[in-house]
Each structure stands twice: as structure tokens, then as C-alpha cells.
């Protein structure tokens, strides 16, 4: 346990993702376009020190989703996901 990887998990991005999508995205389910792994966004590896938020595949490290804020806009790239299955807001 001496070297600590510098990622958190998708939960850490919950607030930003929910503010964008309007529903809890940690329970959204997706498939990595790199290796085909399927997972909840809560289970992805979150890098918050990059400019913005980057979610990577825990299996192959592929960038699944990135979200960058400016005072006036948000940029969202989900190019690393084949699809996202999002729970309907309750």
C-alpha cells in the first residue's frame, strides 16, 4: 500500500454529472468501447485533477467520459462509451 494510484471512483463525479444529466449518473450503466467491459459509472476510475473530470475504464484505462467546465459552458465527451443506460429519474 505504499504507492497510491491517483484516481477515485465514479462516485466522486456524481455531483457534476447529476447537475448535467438531471439524474443520478453513478447508477448509469455503460460499455467501454475499448475492451467491451460493462460497468456502473460508480465503478469507473475518476480523475479529477485533470482539467475537468475524466472517467476511465477500470479494465483497460480507456477514457470513457470527460467533462470540462468553463464559467459559461460545459464540454462533454462520451466517445469511450458504446452506450449509456441511464435510470429514469424517480
Amino acid at each position: 500500500m505504499t504507492s497510491t494510484p491517483d484516481f477515485l471512483d465514479g462516485n466522486a463525479a456524481a455531483g457534476d454529472l447529476e447537475s448535467l444529466f438531471g439524474t443520478d449518473m453513478t447508477m448509469a450503466f455503460g460499455r467501454c468501447s475499448g475492451c467491451g467491459a460493462q460497468m456502473m459509472l460508480a465503478e469507473t476510475h475518476a480523475y479529477l485533477d485533470a482539467p475537468g473530470t475524466v472517467l476511465r475504464c477500470p479494465g483497460c484505462d480507456n477514457v470513457l467520459l470527460s467533462l470540462v467546465h468553463s464559467p459559461t459552458h460545459m464540454w462533454l465527451n462520451t466517445g469511450g462509451l458504446d452506450y449509456l443506460k441511464v435510470p429514469v429519474p424517480q
Binding site: 504507492s3 484516481f7 447537475s19
Partner: protein, 250 residues
């Protein structure tokens, strides 16, 4: 979800709310519990967290994510913050924010690392350091609703001085078993030598995989990787292990 005991936001958009500090409790030399009054707080589930936003007079703004420590309790929410010496936000929250001061708070967020009172399977809580915080919210919620679900807690912490919620955890909670693992120094005459969590700790202090417990593991990334890996090696199904990593960036 039938029988849910906590109100949902019912389509209300997540937004920042003003939160006023009403109480500060010293937990350890470096950890404080901050209790906020948050008008309009919609309630939360044990294990959820909030984003806290601080804005300087010049407009510079920064936010961090913290686990909720308290059981749902009206418009009052508690966070336990560990001060990081080189932190930007945590030293301000632990040392400078005064009772009566305002911060902005957004939440609750996250639906994955939560314990719902509808769950009836045995629960294993594995916490490292301040990773105890969301697990404590689960213990407090269980107690608040007099739930009988069997809980076991394994708490790995550097030394007795670093323990959170010591007095509260010393109290008897029927159906909650507690095991403390010290990594650097132990109380006197403690049977287990100091050291990181092992498979043996998890099999003695945890549940057999056959009981199909849900395991919640929270702590630093290294701790979570180690503990979750050991649980899988012991035969726990990966789908029953929920993890939450605490970053150094708090």
C-alpha cells in the same frame, strides 16, 4: 422503491444550497465533524455524499466532495473532514470556518455506495481511516430506525488517537460487531500486532461468503484496492462488493 424511508428529490434539479455551520466537534487531532443547517435539505441515504463549494471574495471558487456522516435528520447534515496539511479546502473547513458561517452545499449525490434499510442481507463495513465516515452514516441510520440487520465493522486506523467516533462506537449497538485493526501503534496489550488489513482479518471479522453479505469498502485508493482484492480472493462475489475511494485531493 416501496417502503423507502427517505424522500427523493422527485425530479427536483440538483442545486447549490446555503448551509450554515451550527456545530463543530473535535474528533481527533486532525478531524472535525461539521454540522450544518441546510434549509430545504431533501434528506439522504446512508453512504451518499455532498459537494461543498467555497468562493473567495475575488470570485475564485473551488469544490470538494465529502461523505455524509449523519443519519437523515431533518435539515441538519454532518460531515467529518480530515485536515490535509497541504490541502486547499480541508484546513479551511476544519480550522477557520466558524459557527454561523455559510458555505454552499450540493447534494445528496450518488446512488451506488448506499445502504438502504430495505436490504436484509448481512452487511460488512470495511473502513480505512476517514473511510469510516459513510459507514458511520450506515451504522447511525440502522440505529435511528432500530433496524436489526446484522452488521460487522472492520475499522483500520493508524493508532488509537486517529480513531473517529470512538466514544459512540464504544456504546453497545445490538447486532453490530466491531473489529479494530491498527496499522502503526495499538493500545497496550492489544493481541494483534500493528499492520495492514489481511485476509485473516477479513475472514475472522467479516462474514463467510456463503452468507452473501454486501460489503462496503471505503478508504484511500490503496486501502480499497487491497481490501476489495482480499474479499474477492476469500470468495466474495465482486458484484456484492461496493467500494468508495477517498482521494488525497480533499
Amino acid at each position: 422503491m416501496a417502503g423507502a424511508t427517505v424522500p427523493r428529490r422527485l425530479g427536483e434539479r440538483l442545486r447549490w444550497r446555503a448551509a450554515r455551520l451550527t456545530e463543530r466537534v473535535t474528533e481527533t487531532g486532525t478531524a472535525r465533524t461539521l454540522v450544518f443547517d441546510v434549509p430545504g435539505w431533501p434528506g439522504h441515504l446512508a453512504g451518499q455524499h455532498v459537494d461543498v463549494r467555497l468562493t473567495a471574495e475575488d470570485g475564485y471558487s473551488t469544490q470538494r466532495s465529502y461523505s455524509l456522516a449523519s443519519a437523515p435528520d431533518g435539515e441538519s447534515v454532518a460531515l467529518t473532514v480530515q485536515r490535509l496539511e497541504d490541502g486547499e479546502v480541508s484546513p479551511y473547513l476544519t480550522d477557520e470556518l466558524a459557527v454561523g458561517d455559510l458555505v454552499e452545499l450540493r447534494g445528496p449525490v450518488g446512488g451506488w455506495f448506499v445502504w438502504r434499510t430495505e436490504q436484509k442481507e448481512p452487511i460488512l463495513l470495511v473502513g480505512g481511516g476517514s473511510g469510516l465516515v459513510p459507514l458511520m452514516a450506515m451504522i447511525r441510520t440502522r440505529r435511528a430506525v432500530s433496524d436489526r440487520t446484522p452488521f460487522r465493522l472492520l475499522y483500520s486506523v493508524r493508532s488509537p488517537d486517529d480513531q473517529l467516533y470512538t466514544a459512540e462506537l464504544r456504546r453497545d449497538d445490538p447486532g453490530l460487531d466491531k473489529t479494530y485493526l491498527y496499522t502503526r501503534s495499538t493500545p497496550e496489550h492489544w493481541p494483534r500486532p500493528p499492520g495492514h488489513v489481511t485476509a485473516s482479518d477479513l475472514s475472522t471479522g467479516g462474514w463467510p461468503p456463503d452468507f452473501e453479505p454486501t460489503c462496503y469498502v471505503c478508504g484511500s485508493t490503496g486501502f480499497v484496492e487491497t481490501a476489495a482484492g482480499l474479499l474477492v480472493a476469500l470468495g466474495h462475489h465482486p458484484g456484492r462488493i461496493r467500494t468508495e475511494r477517498f482521494g488525497p485531493s480533499a
